[in-house]
């Protein structure tokens, strides 16, 4: 488990997203139930980019591919930020 709090992880995520997609403004209120596709308007490839940038940010490999594959197996059509934070709590 991570020694970073969920609040810190949200802040990390905000930093990484701002750097990865610098020309995009996000005006919605972000929380655990915010959906990356439907609410943040991201495309699936951008999720791959985000995973890559998170690895760079934390300086370690993250099993992001397996995480997304798991979601797909569950029939998920979107990813909530709460899930992503839970994933980061486990792996960073």
């Amino acid at each position: 488990m991570s020694n970073r709090t969920p609040e810190q992880l949200y802040a990390d995520l905000a930093t990484v997203m701002a750097n990865a997609f610098p020309d995009r403004d996000i005006s919605v209120t972000v929380g655990p139930e915010t959906r990356v596709f439907a609410d943040l308007g991201m495309a699936s490839i951008e999720l791959v980019v985000l995973g890559e940038r998170l690895e760079q940010f934390y300086g370690r490999k993250l099993p992001f591919g397996l995480f997304l594959a798991g979601l797909r197996k569950q029939g998920a059509e979107d990813l909530e930020l709460g899930n992503l934070i839970a994933f980061l709590e486990t792996h960073v």
Binding site: V48, G51, L62, N83
Partner: protein, 1080 residues
């Protein structure tokens, strides 16, 4: 863990009647006026309950004028609109806000892309389909309904059920429809229908479409849109047949094939494929740096997938087995080709880009057909195609089809570059709302379009009315009295506020121009600028012919409104601008005979920046340039033989009264350069210059930690030999250490007395030579890298150049650090810092983007002597004896570009050859053939000559002539007695091969293999061509048979069997001979 699995609301197949949002486009003459308008509209809407948003949107559309500053908002309710307008106004108040791109529907761009490039449409193919796509547009746009009705009619004519049943299924049939839509035939045809429907909607907007392109089957839609394919009505029956054929192919091809989507680009996948599957798996689609699709047999794909997962990459096996876009599809192509043989193709009215080649489609209808049909057995080169389109100037991409996949691909390909990709339709958004987002973003980017026409028809009951001009609104009686009253009241209120604002502006300007004090209260800080302040007793500012400025590079002002804008012109003349002889594209020292022969003189980018900085300084006298931002380089400015006129335009964009910081937008262009058609209308570069009262404090240096740090291997001499700069620009004095992240060295600031003929003491703002010279450290970093391919780097843009003090004294010894920010196959991005003598940063450059040119150097050692460089590749397998040489060149597009070709000429041809080239009237492709055939001949002859005479020779020291229709090489020095060997040259479809030998009969044949050709037959044909060439006789159908050695052919002529040596290089078959009889 909670995972959402609910289908988005927009996927309901029940047609949504009418618009669910509106696009509001506001314009102001400048940002302040725009903000006033935004607040005025927000206030008006807030005060009036029950306002008709559609009427407001329509009236704004009618009023919209070109130019100015624009904000576009998408909103579906009054409360939401007010919130968004106020949020936008807050952002606009912040001068640091350069753009707003809020996916919820607020768009503003300080640097609209319509000013920077062109617009292209992208058409998706299979994979973009989803049940219910565009159903919610059928009720709004009659052409969408009509397109799907056409599908119904086609089905009825063919006596079958309409595809629409699965495209727009009832809710209970949705799951089954989704499965059916995955099949190749329905998916291709379904997406094509949607592409055509969106195209027809876009036609309403009358967008300035400069090009089109499609992904996979989307190419059909692109061809239709560009007029290259018969109309859809004529094509209809063929499309139905094609759908059936595709279906059949898929069922027949469904063997042991797996398609694997990978979250990585082609290079990564190919690397793993090479290690694991040894080429048994093919990358069939290179979609973007984060997606490619690999195809192959199950066992190999599974192994590749495991290796990719091991690297942490995202992989997904696709739920179908179709080996299209690979040679495995070839067995099914016969019927497909037959089908397309009967379809009429035409020359397109709009350029089309090919996803097979990544380049423009040819114009010849037969060639278009070939490329279109063969796309099914060729990999999808989407990444390459988008890069080409971008290089050709496309900055705005509109995805004219369903779902938005291509938008994500394109964004990924162009990440970090100025561009916008806008999908016309998204899987997760309602159709009408996404059309509004499209319109809003295009409007915010100043794309000219007919907004009114978009709203001209509405099928939906209760939907919006036809928009009318303001003076028609009341007469038409379109709305209920109450609604009309409230709308008119709001618009009147809004316009009244605007009128007041404009009056205020007018008063200020009148006061300023007439020399009296303004009546209105304006913050005094606004006039901190000396030239902008009203001078009660001074005459109005002149608008023409100001005294010549003192700066060295801006010439004469032809228009000058102090504190606002300035236009200056100077002459670009090689005789005055001595520095340009030290900035020659192509290189220096290219001739032993004439050591002064250099490449093509080109205006350095930094001199463009100097010109813009000088113009900005004239607008804000007394201030210093602290930064130059958003530098965009669009075109080379080569020096013509005769002087040309260079123009600099600059205008004040903003003044911050609190900080005194001034932003000036500037651009430069060459009005009469022979290399730059329409140069007067297109800037060659542009930038924003930031000025302030004083330089900022030097910041902390950028982090500089070198992984695997080692001393530099390259010497300063190596660097100088490999840069195309002469002594004026050679300031680097040491190359000290480097690592993955960057490089460190030193430079010495050199005098400026030899830049211009007319003055030994030019007044400069940024010292363009010093800034250029500092960047050479980046060249040294690339010289240290093991991979030299793509090592020719030329700048295309800079995010920011910052200055933290005045220009260092001449003679100062300064530390320089180059940083490696990012590298891709086509670009490298760097940062740079130069430290002052106080050890603190004096200059910082960030986001310096360089385009990597891939010149096909066949044999080059960047550390070796330049007279041993060979641009062409040796084909040793085609050499029939040791005393011969064969070279080949397939000129890359980079080298065919007129400026690079001209620079190539300058460094490889003699003055006499260049004169002949100039005097001969040739088409562009003939120019390429003329140049490359001589270049390959020279490379071939000098390679053989060097091998027998143990020396190095420059191409420019050898001269070609045409004798009896053949190229002959001789020394450039007339008195030379050197007898060079004979050379034979063949050109076929732009490819060039040459063969040289010390022999009497020297011949070469070159054949180009097309798909479906027999390589053996072409090899025999090339062998006959070689013999005919050697004997100077026509081909006469001689017998050809294989010889004893690999690649050897025997051509029977005159009772002798003549030996011909052949080889194949990709699609080129080369045959050479010296007409020796085979002893057997």
């Amino acid at each position: 863990m909670v995972v959402t699995a609910t289908a988005p609301a927009s996927q309901d197949t029940a047609t949504i009647s009418g618009w669910d949002s509106e696009a509001f486009v506001l314009r102001g003459a400048d940002r302040a006026e725009l903000r006033e308008r935004v607040l005025a509209l927000a206030g008006s809407v807030e005060r009036q309950a029950g306002v008709s948003l559609s009427d407001i949107a329509a009236r704004l559309a009618v009023e919209l004028q070109p130019g100015g500053v624009r904000l576009a908002v998408v909103s579906g309710s009054a409360a939401d609109l007010v919130t968004k307008l106020r949020r936008a106004a807050d952002r606009l108040a912040d001068p640091k806000c350069k753009q707003i791109r809020d996916g919820n529907g607020i768009y503003f761009f300080e640097q609209p892309l319509a000013m920077q490039g062109t617009l292209a449409l992208l058409y998706p193919g299979e994979g973009a389909q989803f049940p219910g796509m565009l159903a919610d547009l059928c009720g709004i746009f009659p052409e969408v309904e009509d397109t799907f009705s056409w599908c119904d009619r086609l089905a009825a004519d063919a006596g079958r059920a309409s595809l629409r049943n699965i495209l727009h299924p009832a809710p209970e049939d949705r799951a089954a429809a989704e499965l059916e839509l995955r099949q190749l035939g329905p998916s291709i045809f379904g997406v094509l229908l949607a592409d055509l429907a969106i195209t027809r909607v876009l036609q309403r907007l009358e967008l300035p479409v400069s090009a089109v392109a499609g992904h996979s089957a989307g190419e059909l839609a692109a061809l239709l849109a560009a007029g290259a394919l018969a109309s859809e009505t004529m094509l209809g029956p063929s499309l139905v047949e094609m759908m059936d054929l595709m279906q059949l192919m898929e069922s027949e091809a469904g063997g042991d094939v797996v398609l694997l989507a990978v979250g990585a680009g082609r290079a990564v996948v190919e690397e793993v494929v090479a290690q694991i599957a040894h080429g048994g798996v093919i990358v069939a689609m290179d979609n973007c740096p984060h997606q490619s699709v690999a195809v192959g047999p199950t066992n190999l794909v599974v192994a590749v997938e495991a290796a990719l997962l091991e690297r942490g990459l995202v992989c997904e096996r696709l739920p179908f087995k179709r080996p299209y876009h690979t040679p495995m599809f070839e067995p099914f192509m016969g019927r497909f080709r037959e089908l397309f043989a009967g379809v009429p193709f035409h020359q397109p009215h709009t350029p089309i880009y090919s996803c097979s080649t990544g380049a423009r489609f040819p114009n010849d209808p037969a060639a278009i057909r070939d490329l279109t049909v063969n796309h099914w057995v060729s990999p999808v080169e989407f990444t390459r195609m988008i890069e080409t389109m971008y290089a050709d100037g496309v900055r705005i991409f509109v995805e004219a089809g369903p779902r938005g996949n291509l938008s994500a691909f394109t964004e990924d390909v162009l990440r970090g570059k100025p561009h916008v990709v806008i999908p016309a339709n998204l899987f997760r958004k309602s159709g009408p709302t996404q059309i509004n987002h499209l319109v809003a973003q295009l409007a915010a980017h100043h794309v000219p379009m007919n907004l009114v026409q978009l709203r001209a028809t509405d099928l939906a009951s209760g939907g919006r009315e036809s928009p009318v001009h303001l003076d028609q609104l009341e007469n038409r009686g379109l709305t209920s009295p109450a609604r009309q009253d409230s709308t008119v009241a709001i618009m009147d209120g809004y316009l009244a506020v605007m009128e007041q604002f404009l009056d205020t502006q007018r008063e200020v300007m009148e006061a300023f121009l007439s020399g009296r004090a303004a009546h209105v209260e304006i913050p005094q800080e606004l006039f901190a600028f000396p030239d902008f302040a009203p001078q009660p007793s001074s005459p109005p500012p002149t608008t023409n012919h100001q005294p010549p400025p003192e700066y060295c590079f801006v010439g004469e002002a032809i228009q000058h409104e102090p504190g606002r804008e300035i236009v200056l012109r100077r002459t670009l003349d090689e005789r005055e601008d001595l520095y340009v002889d030290d900035h020659t594209l192509g290189g220096r020292g290219v001739s032993h005979v004439d050591p002064t022969q250099n490449g093509l003189p080109v205006l350095p980018m930094t001199f463009s920046l100097e010109a813009m900085s000088e113009a900005a300084s004239l607008l804000a006298p007394g201030k210093v340039v602290i930064a130059v931002r958003n530098v965009r380089l669009y075109r080379w400015v080569p020096y013509d033989a005769e002087p040309t006129t260079f123009e600099i335009r600059a205008s004040v964009a903003s003044v911050d009264p609190e900080t005194g910081v001034v932003e000036v937008r500037a651009n430069v262009r060459d009005l009469s350069n022979s290399f730059l058609p329409d140069g007067a209308n297109k800037p060659s570069s542009e930038a924003t210059v930031i000025l302030a009262d004083r330089y900022p404090e030097p910041p902390e240096p950028l982090p500089f930690v070198l992984t695997d740090e080692v001393p530099c291997k390259a010497t300063v001499e190596d660097l100088r030999r490999n840069m195309f700069h002469g002594p004026l620009f050679q300031m680097i004095r040491s190359l000290d250490r480097h690592g993955k992240e960057g490089i460190e060295g030193t430079l010495v600031v050199q005098p400026r007395d030899k830049w211009f003929r007319s003055t030994p003491n030019p007044r400069v703002v940024i010292d363009p030579v010093l800034v250029d010279a500092a960047m050479h450290i980046l060249g040294a970093w690339h010289l240290e890298q093991p991979d030299w391919s793509g090592r020719i780097l030329l700048p295309i843009g800079m995010q920011s150049l910052e200055f933290f003090g005045p220009i260092p004294e001449i003679g100062s010894n300064l530390l320089v650090r180059g940083h490696n920010e990012e590298e891709t196959a086509r670009q490298a991005r760097h940062a740079l810092e130069v430290f002052g003598t106080n050890g603190k940063p004096w200059f910082r450059l960030t986001g310096a983007s360089y385009w990597r040119f891939y010149l096909p150097f066949g044999d080059v050692n960047f550390f070796g002597p330049k007279d041993q460089y060979f641009l062409c590749s040796r084909m040793a397998e085609a050499e029939s004896s040791h005393a011969s040489r064969c070279y080949f060149l397939d000129p890359p597009l980079d080298l065919q570009q007129p400026v690079l070709r001209a620079s190539g000429m300058r460094v490889t041809m003699t003055p006499r050859e260049m004169g002949i080239f100039q005097e001969t009237e040739l088409t562009d492709s003939e120019k390429s053939d003329w140049f490359f055939s001589r270049l390959v001949a020279k490379d071939t002859v000098r390679s053989l000559w060097n091998s027998t005479h143990n020396g190095g020779m420059f191409p420019a020291d050898m001269e070609t002539d045409i004798v009896a229709g053949r190229i002959v090489c001789r020394s450039r020095v007339e008195s030379s007695k050197d007898q060079y060997p004979q050379v034979a040259v063949a050109v076929n479809k732009g490819k060039v091969a040459a063969f040289s030998a010390f022999a009497e009969h020297v011949g070469i044949g070159l054949a180009v293999v097309k798909k479906g050709d027999s390589a053996d037959a072409l090899r025999a044909q090339a062998a006959q061509l070689a013999v005919a060439d050697a004997l100077r006789i026509p081909v006469e159908g001689w017998a050809v048979q294989a010889g004893a050695k690999p690649g050897q052919m025997l051509v029977t002529h005159g009772g002798r069997k003549l030996r011909v040596q052949t080889t194949q290089n990709k699609d080129a078959i080369i045959a050479t001979t010296i007409c020796e009889a085979d002893p057997a």
